[in-house]
Symmetry: C2
Subunit: 220 residues, 2 copies
DNA sequence: CTATAATGTGACCAGTCGGTCATATGACTT
DNA sequence: AAGTCATATGACCGACTGGTCACATTATAG
């Protein structure tokens, strides 16, 4: 956390420094953010910076708490439209309120995302080619599936492609994160438990989370 | 692309260098990867490195093509179990073959993911706290929803939480990437088109991609 | 007005970075 | 043996890094 010295600063100076830091993180991420540049852009000296903060990680952590605080305030001020919503309606409200929040603080949110999502955001163009290729394949699959009557035609193609990509990435990331912890990743991937997990994920992609009439009937 | 000099190298040396680079990217990502360390760890001189490659981006691009090449070979050698699969079965096969591939080349895949997913992988612990808090909320929502008979009880709670998190992140990322391109992000977020897009995403989360009997009946 | 404490400053440190280049090596040709 | 040419080397460069510290400035108190 920042030292008291920083918190005592007049609001204007406080904000100038914080904004310079936010811009720096947004542009360079955490590791490559330069304290020298932050200092230069906020018009304070190097020494002051280290009087205010432990180091740049300290600054970033502070920015995180600012975000968290703003978010809590924002959600507290925004009441759900109705008291009697089911879970899906409530989730939808949460998502949409989150969107409103994000677009109210785009720079702040972007800076933090830049750190979390990392260089990928920047070098994204490099892989755009591969992504486009993969998505072309998905597109063909979906079109064919709609023709065959397998996929709900009210879902448009672009959206379906995005969904397949999302699932594909989510599963890859899951496998990577969990798998790297295992001694024998190959054995783990092939284990009944892991396979079952994947099956369930894909099942939800197919049929969704909601309990429907047909599930009662079919007894799935 | 690497210069011919590099491609002429005896396989052993070629692999040593590439492995050192893969390890470096896996540990430090793209921007913070150090050519000095790669050179030291692969036992070649600084000069040689620049005789082999333009720069470190060149190395990374080469590693990408290696991955792509290996993947193509892997998929070509793995035939689908059956010719008559529907789209969902085929997608499932693709995902599982992809998993097999990833666990066959974990270091290679991890290094590339480290670059794409970025520092977040490393500093992940910092945000673990926030994530856990958010997921606790999701967990309660899901449990309640199952009690109410809104969510399919055959989907277990952990999985449902992961799914909500995935959707939540996917939508945030989408809004962030698309939204930052707009002049007036607030206006864009509130536009009917954007809202409809989100509605459709959440609809699919609820009901899945597959066309079901009930959809025919309900005429959705 | 003086003394004390708090805050602000930037030259400076040791270290790392990506990248260059004059020189050395060694295999192959004449 | 002499000459040629691709390859290999590491000292060296300027730029930048995060971080320190002796000193300057300002605010507060007696």
């Amino acid at each position: 956390m920042p030292k008291q010295t920083f918190l005592n600063l007049p609001k204007e100076k406080h904000d100038t420094i914080l904004n310079a830091a936010i811009d720096e993180f947004a542009q360079y991420g955490l590791e490559n953010a330069s304290t020298n540049r932050i200092v230069a852009n906020s018009g304070i000296s190097k020494g002051s910076f280290y009087q205010y903060f432990e180091d740049k990680l300290d600054v970033f952590k502070y920015i995180l708490t600012v975000l968290e605080h703003e978010k809590i305030v924002f959600f507290k001020d925004t009441h759900p439209p109705s008291r009697n919503m089911d879970t899906f309606q409530y989730f939808r409200w949460m998502i949409k309120t989150g969107m409103e929040f994000n677009s109210s603080y785009p720079r702040l949110v972007y800076a933090i995302s830049r750190v979390l999502l990392g260089e990928g955001l920047y070098y994204g163009q490099m892989f755009a080619e591969n992504r486009i290729k993969a998505n072309k394949a998905f597109e063909m699959m979906i079109k064919q599936a709609i023709e065959r009557g397998e996929v709900d035609p009210s879902v448009d193609v672009d959206l379906a492609v995005m969904i397949m990509e999302t699932w594909s990435n989510a599963i890859s990331t899951y496998i990577l994160n969990e798998g790297m912890k295992q001694k024998d990743i190959m054995k783990w991937v092939r284990s009944a438990k892991t396979q079952e997990k994947i099956d369930k994920m894909l099942y939800v992609m197919e049929y969704g989370l909601r309990k429907t009439e047909s599930q009662f009937v079919a007894g799935i």
